[in-house]
Amino acid sequence: MISPRRSYRSELVALAAALLVACAALTWAISVGAVAFPFGAVLAQVVHPDLSTQAGRILWEIRIPRVAIASLVGASLGLAGMLLQTMLRNPLVDPYLTGTSAGAACAIAIGIAAGVASAALPLLAFVAALATALIVAALARTGTGISHERLILAGISLSALFAGVVTLVILLSPRASTSLSILAWLGGSLAGRGWSDARVASIYAAIGVALALALAPMLNGLRFGEARARALGVDVDRVQWGVVGAASLLTAAAVSVSGIVGFVGLIVPHVTRRFVGNDARLTLVTSMILGAVLVVLADTIARSIDPPLELPLGVLLSMFGVPIFIYLSFRRRAA
């Protein structure tokens, strides 16, 4: 009896579907706004950019950079969540595990209170996020590897510490505007972001993505547990450092441009696994696509519910995303 070899047809169909959905979401997001553009106009500008027209300027200087940054943030958070959940074999982990968001929030709160120029804030957030991740990783180090429990404990402890500092700064700041600026950053937003923000963040995100994809085959070995992975020639220590490094870089890049956008890094890996199973080669790529879709859609809704006012992106994701996620995850039990 000869059984057929495994085919990845259904997984590849799911991946293609995710790509199609991503294209549709991006196109919709670009066309929606104070001035609505028909699909044809969007397509024409994308194929032949013409900055001498008003449409060209709106699309290329406002809409497209904004959608590009939303994609970057979503893809980074989705991938970072996927990496950490895969390595720790724990579906409750999110990319802020390594303390990146709390560290960045702390630096931003102190920075805003101290009157640091707003142009310098993204860099400040990025450096603080990475520094926190480094401290957490150093605390979690055992021998040549990383202890999972210590990583989670160190991340949670440091996050709690920094959250306390943020609250203190908000309470002690003499001016209400300072507190509001800090709160707005904590709520997450892409308002006013342009190409210059995208450029810096995308360099770090690209390094993170490259590192993550290089780890994919070895992450597949880790599905059998650390001992078996080692028996398959996987350098487990190196994978762990690579995952923590890539996830921290990706999260820091995202946090630096968007503030704290929660929930994406938690839900996207779950949805991804439902679509394409748990082959890291597929999940890493798909989590980027789905993360980008989720944040692009959320950001578009955030800026079009009550224009020109914008809802905080992170708040919107929690308020609408969480109920939908709970419905999707728990309806099976009723069936």
Partner: protein
């Protein structure tokens, strides 16, 4: 193929084995037996290069096993540890295919024609063809053990190190698993080292038996030689009787306190 030379091993800062010397030949099945805590699994992991040595050296075809790069080591030596948590959402074929990981440079994502042939060969060799497309999580313990062995075969390893492969298996699956291990040695020319608890199973399936106890290697020979009533009784701390059957089989069993063995 594998030479263990004056090896000492420590576990948690405490020496558990000293002065262990023996060799494993290609085409041979060697069983490691001994009381709980004698260091059987630790020794097996040391042979696989997964456990640092406190003293002595272990060589694979003349080269110290510690000098192998991780992937290179896995291309030569397959360590099959006792069952852990099963991987979720994988088919039998996916698990076997993971055995090709050590043959793949990090930048190559997909399996080559050689990889696919090796997986087909491993599945055929272990009789897994009917289970090939079944989810791994649905298999019984005996079937899972066969899949782990198939993974090792797909590795193209020349030494197979099995840690208590029969601990949860009934008598039929024990037989099948160890018969497969014997074929890997006797027909395919591999070196097989298997940690076993059951002395009689070891005697039935292994060509040679290494008895660990009293923090060292006490004997390494055929069952007929190693199974000495006085030696076994000393090592296990209970009265043990040994029978030599006319067909050459050797049996060892504990003597219950109330029974007199003639």
């Amino acid at each position: 193929m594998i030479a263990i030379d004056a090896v000492a091993l420590a576990y948690g800062g405490c020496r558990i084995l000293e002065d262990v010397t023996f060799t494993v030949r290609a085409g041979d099945v060697l069983a490691i037996v001994g009381p709980n805590g004698a260091g059987k699994s630790t020794l097996l992991r040391a042979i696989a290069g997964a456990q640092p040595l406190d003293a002595g050296r272990i060589t694979f075809e003349g080269r110290p096993i510690a000098a192998f790069a991780p992937q290179e080591r896995s291309r030569n030596v397959a360590l099959i540890e006792a069952e852990g948590a099963p991987p979720e959402g994988l088919l039998v074929e996916d698990v076997v295919a993971a055995g090709r990981l050590p043959h793949r440079p990090w930048w190559r994502w997909s399996s080559s024609e050689g990889d696919r042939r090796a997986v087909d060969r491993a599945i055929a060799r272990t009789g897994l063809a009917p289970l090939r497309n079944r989810p791994f999580a649905e298999l019984s313990s005996g079937e899972r053990q066969r899949v782990w062995i198939a993974m090792a075969v797909a590795q193209d390893a020349r030494a197979f190190l099995l840690d208590e492969p029969t601990s949860h298996l009934d008598i039929k699956h024990t037989f099948e698993t160890l018969a497969l291990a014997r074929r890997l040695a006797h027909e395919d020319g591999g070196a097989v080292v298997v940690v076993l608890h059951d002395l009689n199973v070891a005697a039935a399936f292994a060509d040679r038996i290494a008895l660990l106890g009293e923090r060292t290697l006490l004997a390494c020979d055929t069952a007929a030689v190693v199974f000495d009533e006085a030696l076994l009784a000393r090592v296990y701390g209970i009265p043990i009787a040994v029978r030599h059957e006319p067909n050459g089989a050797v049996l060892a069993f504990a003597v219950p306190p109330s029974r007199v063995v003639s």
